[in-house]
């Protein structure tokens, strides 16, 4: 995606696929095999629809039949009651699907994980009974003998095949556009870590609603086309469990989160199931169901992410075997950056962040109690304190992950209390996470790009910001490497670059040094200092005290949720109260 060629590079296989499809369509004389090709296009599009929501964003839907069925009934009922031709009815079905998507998404996105998946199951089931209750047990499309072409009625099935292919091409292009833009990147970020995505400035709710609208539109459209192909629909065929399952199965089989996955899945599974049904269906009733079941089991065992990823991994491994391992060039190695040169003016900048009487309780536990402090522009502030002192809670309050019970957080004259994490990020505060969670399938550059969208009007500016951030942490020479093989040090640097790419004025670092070796700690200190010199204000939580002493201009010490003391690092660590907080209250009077 970093490369602008991402979108066009997929056109070649698309052209190849179309050629094969058309050749088959026109060489296979049997109507039966032609129908099978049409069905491949239908289920491939349905798989793409499912993939746009569930594959990219990770919100698994068991209810895509709702959109599919609404689309099918829109076309059929539109023709029966309002005389709307399917040429208009099918696009209309797409609109109905999109609206249904938004209506379903608004309440259902309150749920997460398997709760979301199960709630989605309810929509097609409810609709199935509603349509049966309305008396649409079986609805046929009326035959139009006057001008069949105007009503999308053809005696030659191959024309349906071409329409199906056309819809598939549209779906592929839509899916590809999503994948190569900030839309797709935002969904991927949500899939990986919704909280981190919020912190990177991504309004997760907005993007999820967009995804379900697009997904619903695709499903509604293809549902409408399916009704035309079948001529007769029943609530059970379009809203039934098998419809939702088939969308999911073709995608899981072919490869989740890829454009080609659903197509590969449909091209393999639909003919296989249909052929078996035709050949041995009279002996083994329900053989298709068995095929889908077995396909899922094999995929789970052999290629849990789908065929597409498996093949890609094998090819990558083969390519990598031929090449020498990429040498990572980290910024100039500094043996020991020594203590921070005394910066007498570090704490005299303009007040950027002001925290006043901040409190947060969980039940009876007062995690943060009446904490007040200020952060001047350009300073490096260390928040320290023993385990359980409330450092992480304080961080979460400042970043909008939790709402304080009391108190004020003023950043650049504006209150941050009540803002979402993405809202906090948009105002110029970036953060890193203690546990780095890179998107392993993406390049380093793309990983950083996700954080760049918040401060960038266009995707090109975002790309520029991402490259600048990589240069700042010294990862620019490795921008195209996949993030999967990074060392923990490189992951931390990448995480740092992601936070920087949003052009924050202030940066919160959560244990950036934890678990790093001595040389790595020195490198990281060098990088963080370089950031500080570019003018970013830094607030850091860190346990590695030696490192903190060399890094921070000022310490804020928490104990039992309250501010214990603050001041110059070297003075603070010699204070009795601090020693007692860390080592126990009787340490001074020992032995």
């Amino acid at each position: 995606m970093g490369k602008r060629t991402g979108f066009f590079s997929s056109l070649l296989p698309l052209a190849g696929f179309c050629a094969v499809y058309l050749v088959l369509l026109f060489t296979l004389q049997s109507q039966y095999y032609q129908l099978m090709l049409i069905l491949v296009s239908v289920w491939a599009v349905m798989g793409i629809s499912w993939n746009v929501l569930s594959g990219y964003s990770g919100l698994i839907s068991f209810g895509h039949a709702a959109f599919f069925g609404l689309g099918a009934f829109t076309v059929v009922l539109g023709q029966i009651y309002f005389g709307i031709t399917p040429w208009i009815g099918i696009p209309l079905a797409g609109v109905v699907g999109a609206v249904a998507g938004i209506l379903v998404g608004l309440p259902t996105f309150r749920l997460r994980g398997h709760y979301f998946a199960l709630a989605m199951l309810a929509y097609p089931l409810a609709l199935l009974y509603v349509f049966e209750w309305l008396g649409y047990q079986e609805v046929a499309i009326p035959m139009e003998r006057e001008n069949p072409v105007a009503w999308m009625q053809f005696s030659d099935q191959r024309i349906y095949g071409m329409i199906g292919l056309g819809l598939l091409i549209i779906a592929i292009i839509v899916s590809r556009l999503i994948e190569t833009s900030r839309f797709g990147m935002s969904l991927l970020a949500i899939k990986q870590n919704e909280l981190a995505a919020e912190a990177a400035g991504i309004e997760t709710r907005k993007w999820k609603l967009r995804a379900i609208a697009v997904s619903g539109a695709i499903a509604g459209t293809i549902g409408g086309f399916y009704a035309i192909v079948l001529l007769v629909i029943t609530p059970d065929t379009v809203f039934g469990m098998l419809t939702s399952a088939q969308a999911l199965i073709v995608t899981l089989f072919g490869g989740v989160g890829t454009v080609w996955g659903p197509i590969i899945g449909a091209a393999v599974l639909i003919p296989l199931a249909e052929t078996l049904h035709a050949e041995v269906g009279h002996l083994l009733h329900g053989i298709q169901g068995v095929v889908y079941g077995v396909a899922i089991i094999i995929i789970i065992l052999v290629a849990p992410e789908g065929l597409m990823w498996k093949v890609r991994d094998i090819m990558q491994a083969r390519r990598a075997a031929g090449e020498p391992p990429a040498e990572i060039a980290v910024a100039e190695v500094v043996a020991n950056p020594g203590p921070l040169p005394d910066r007498p003016n570090a704490m005299s900048g303009r007040i950027m962040l002001e925290v006043r009487n901040l409190s947060k309780s969980f039940g009876g536990l007062r995690a943060v109690q009446d904490v007040s402090f200020t952060v001047p522009e350009g300073a490096v502030i260390g928040i320290i304190g023993p385990n359980g002192a409330g450092k992480t809670t304080l961080f979460n309050l400042l970043n909008g992950f939790q709402t304080p019970n009391q108190g004020e957080i003023i950043f650049e004259g504006e209150s941050l209390v009540g803002l979402t994490p993405s809202g906090v990020c948009k105002r110029g505060i970036g953060r890193t996470f203690q546990v780095a969670r890179p998107f392993k399938r993406l390049s380093i550059l793309d990983n950083v790009l996700i954080g760049a969208y918040v401060g960038a009007a266009t995707d090109d500016i975002a790309l520029k910001h991402a490259r600048e951030a990589l240069a700042l942490v010294g990862l620019d020479k490795n921008a195209d490497r996949l993030a999967g093989g990074l060392t923990s040090m490189e992951q931390r640097l990448m995480e740092l670059a992601r936070a920087l790419a949003g052009k924050p004025k202030m940066l919160f670092l959560d244990e950036t040094l934890a678990g790093l070796g001595g040389v790595e700690v020195n490198e990281m200190i060098t990088v963080i200092r370089r950031l500080s010199e570019t003018g970013v204000t830094i607030v850091i939580i860190e346990h590695t005290m030696q490192a903190m002493l060399r890094l921070a201009d000022h310490f804020i010490v928490l104990d039992h949720g309250a501010l214990l003391t603050e001041g110059k690092p070297r003075e603070v660590v010699r204070q009795d109260a601090v020693i007692e907080a860390y080592l126990g209250k009787r340490w001074r009077n020992r032995a």
Binding site: G515, T544, V573, V578, K585, R586, W587
Partner: protein, 235 residues
């Protein structure tokens, strides 16, 4: 009783334990102190079996622990009382204790253990039917410790029992640990950030810093060594 040799462990490439060796003799009270992030909790998790070791050995009463699965280790007589208490919040206090008594020894000695627990923490008897999640932090810590005792262990491992507790409450928890050991003749392995409290009640102490044992010795030796303070505060 417990012997750890050259233990190495890492999370996703980040080294958490680097060639850690330590010995706990039968009936001994051993404390491991050190600042946050030193690897204390990881060490406990490796002993309990919830985090795998990269290399090194752990033997418990001569048995190789690393080739024993986590749930079997509980049956060998190791009770792990995890950091942050981890009670079952929607179970009553008594049900929490019953969950601890899943081992054979715990089943056999259930009545005896329950009497002991109620003698030690009378408040738990009063609150036996209350949901554990509604107790105060100190009381939840008592439940967590009592749950460990209910398994009739030979070795009890406590991970930061004082974490997040007010000093007075933490003191009473430490007193209870000393009392348990005296009456039950248990072997105790304690991980603590509060060096003073942990070292003054133990027989042998280890100081862990960034995954390595930097100091070990008797409490008197350690308490008079300023390097302990440096391990925490850097300078």
């Amino acid at each position: 009783m417990l012997e750890i040799r050259n233990l190495h462990a890492a999370y996703g490439g980040v080294t958490a334990l680097d060639h850690v060796s330590l010995t706990v003799e039968k009936g001994q009270f051993v404390s491991i102190v050190g600042p946050n992030g030193a690897g204390k909790t990881t060490l406990f998790k490796v002993i309990a079996g919830t985090v795998p070791a990269q290399s090194g050995t752990i033997s418990f009463e001569g048995k190789d622990l690393l080739s024993t699965s986590a749930f079997e280790r509980a049956h060998l007589g190791i009770a792990h009382i995890p950091e942050g208490r981890q009670v079952f919040p929607n179970m009553s206090v008594l049900e929490n204790l019953e969950m601890g008594a899943f081992t054979d020894a715990g089943q056999k000695q259930w009545n005896e253990n329950l009497d002991f627990i109620y003698g030690l923490f009378p408040i738990l008897k009063e609150r036996a039917e209350q949901m554990a999640g509604t107790l105060s932090g100190g009381q939840q810590q008592m439940v967590a410790i009592a749950r460990g005792i209910a398994s009739s262990p030979k070795l009890i491992m406590l991970d930061e029992p004082s974490m997040g507790l007010a000093p007075a409450v933490a003191d009473s928890i430490f007193e209870a640990i000393v009392e348990i050991r005296r009456q039950k003749n248990l072997t105790v392995l304690l991980v603590e950030q509060r060096a003073m409290e942990a070292l003054e009640s133990c027989e042998r102490g280890y100081v862990l810093e960034t995954g390595r044992v930097v100091l070990e010795g008797t409490p008197t030796e350690l308490l008079s060594d300023d390097r302990v303070r440096q391990a925490y505060l850097g300078a």
